[in-house]
């Protein structure tokens, strides 16, 4: 039993780290652009397939494909902003939300046109898990956990130590005051998309290592990602990290009592309860 609990803890940490990478981006984008980005899951998918192209077509090792795929996804996010969202900045948030739903559909369809609707993997063959204290640990899951932790630390350093990171937090905190302080809003918006896109891509790659590539691999993670962002307090990147682990661990531990098929329902329930009891989330977000 104790081993089971520990095993679920490990799964929870691995999956939580992936969800955190998506949730940080959703939270930052909401805080600065004031809309729920429904294409975020598809940005994750896009990143994982760009990496697949580099691995599958050009024969690069996966580790070398991560950074270019992440940056490409950041650029794609900026292009979407220039094409669609920028023209809608002064409209109601629901219009931006619908626009993001549309751009997500575009990304998902392009992936499907190029790579087909079937599953893909970065490499074939069986990776042999090893056992430690009775826990089953796959080498890939260690890479996932390590990679996500490194990214979270990098995001923290960016947000807390750079001028742009502080400006992003300031805009998320108090938009009007940031503008009257002379912060260049459009530059901050651009950086928000770059950071959101990079994190989404890496989250998508790690997710695809953990499971498989599929055109809806990221889309299916939207619910836990939004749940994490809302539980943490939307607009609060540190809240999103905490929220991701709460949601992920709750999903994993729920399998002790109910069928794993209900894992998304667990995320949904926690999100609803938080929205009813404390809509600003744990970190008093901007919702």
């Amino acid at each position: 039993m104790a081993t089971d609990l520990l095993q679920l803890l490990y799964y929870g940490l691995v999956y939580g780290a992936i969800v955190a990478l998506g949730a940080i981006g959703v939270s930052l984008i909401f805080g600065i652009l004031r809309f729920a980005n429904f294409s975020h899951g598809d940005l994750m998918t896009t990143g994982s397939y760009v990496a697949l192209a580099l691995v599958g077509w050009l024969g690069w090792p996966l580790w070398a494909a991560v950074a270019p795929a992440a940056i490409a996804t950041g650029v794609i996010a900026i292009v979407l902003d220039r094409l669609f969202y920028r023209h809608l900045r002064r409209t109601a948030p629901v219009i931006l939300l619908i626009a993001s739903f549309g751009s997500g559909l575009i990304l998902r369809s392009i992936v499907q046109i190029i790579f087909g609707p079937d599953n893909h993997v970065y490499r074939t063959g069986i990776s042999i898990p090893f056992r430690w204290q009775g826990l089953v640990i796959t080498p890939d899951s260690l890479w996932v956990l390590g990679g996500a932790i490194v990214m979270v630390i990098l995001v923290h350093l960016f947000l807390s130590h750079t001028r742009m990171g502080k400006s992003m937090r300031a805009m998320s905190d108090n938009m009007d005051l940031a503008l009257v302080s002379g912060i260049p809003a459009e530059r901050v918006v651009m950086w928000t998309w770059i950071i959101g896109g990079i994190l989404a891509a890496i989250g998508g790659i790690l997710l695809s290592m953990d499971t498989k590539l599929h055109p809806t691999v990221g889309y299916h993670e939207l619910l836990p990602i939004f749940a994490a962002a809302i539980v943490g307090g939307i607009g609060r990147p540190y809240g999103a990290i905490l929220g991701a682990f709460i949601i992920s661990l709750a999903m994993q531990y729920s399998t002790l009592i109910i069928s794993p098929a209900y894992m998304p329902a667990v995320a949904f329930t926690i999100m609803l309860v938080v929205l009813i009891i404390r809509p600003s989330g744990l970190f008093k977000g901007t919702l």
């Binding site: 001028r163 502080k166 400006s167 937090r169 300031a170 905190d173 108090n174 009007d176 005051l177 940031a178 503008l179 009257v180 302080s181 002379g182 912060i183 609060r236 970190f283």
Partner: protein, 234 residues
């Protein structure tokens, strides 16, 4: 030459006019206080000097140049800083980060400027790592003023800086205002505590219904019987 000149301004926030031909003049190093009943347009008059009001007609000049239709982010670069009444700090940012954001457009000397603010408000230096949102009302007001002072403005706009503060913090805030003014910064403020504000003011304006009602030195307005009966509680 006048530091700020608001001349026969009509305007509001897109609906009907809130300002109906109002004028205001101040010189460098003045402390000018705007008083009047609720809805008289006091805050709107002040915001008209910061590009936050859509001005239908009239003129706003600052330091010799026309700023009537400039955006706030341009005006802030010309030497006016603005402290809103509410939501005037970045709550999750530390005191020091609030000051850094306040000085965002400074090319150099950011550290020196922060030290100057700490010298003015030693309490902020003690709390530099604390999140601004977790501080008391009086301390938060210091953070708000400190943030606005980062750009070393010639004119500081304060919108009801003592609103919601306890009496001890009100005195402290007026002391800070005087101290900032002693450092050569002109102050234009809207205040509910009219008596205390006029006591430190070099000039005061009484506004009713978007128009000038009285204009005098602070002491003169305090001695004016009509003003006393209307706003100062007899």
């Amino acid at each position: 030459m006048n530091l700020l000149e608001i001349n026969d301004v009509y305007g509001g926030y897109g609906g009907g006019d809130i300002l109906k031909g109002v004028s205001l003049n101040m010189e460098a190093r003045d402390i000018v206080v705007i008083v009047g009943p609720n809805g008289a347009g006091k805050s709107t008059l002040m915001k008209s000097a910061f590009g936050l009001v859509s001005i239908r007609s009239g003129l706003v000049r600052f330091d010799g140049s026309d700023i009537t239709r400039l955006r706030p982010d341009k005006i802030v670069r010309r030497g006016i800083s603005y402290v809103p009444q509410e939501k005037n700090v970045f709550p999750t940012l530390s005191v020091e980060e609030n000051l850094q954001i306040g000085g965002y457009i400074l090319k150099e000397n950011l550290k020196k400027r922060i030290e100057a603010i700490y010298a003015m408000f030693p309490r902020l230096a003690e709390r530099r790592r604390q999140a601004a949102g977790s501080m008391s009302g009086g301390e938060r007001q210091m953070v708000a003023m400190g943030r606005a002072l980062m750009l070393d403005p010639k004119l500081l706009l304060l919108d009801e800086p003592t609103a919601g503060l306890s009496p001890a913090y009100i005195d402290q805030t007026f002391d800070s205002v005087k101290q900032i003014n002693d450092n050569g910064v002109g102050i234009l403020m809207v205040e509910q505590n009219a008596k205390q504000a006029l006591a430190i003011a070099s000039r005061g304006y009484v506004l009713t219904n978007g128009q000038n009602r009285h204009e005098d030195t602070g002491a003169g307005l305090l001695a004016n019987r009509e003003v006393a009966e209307m706003f100062l509680g007899g």
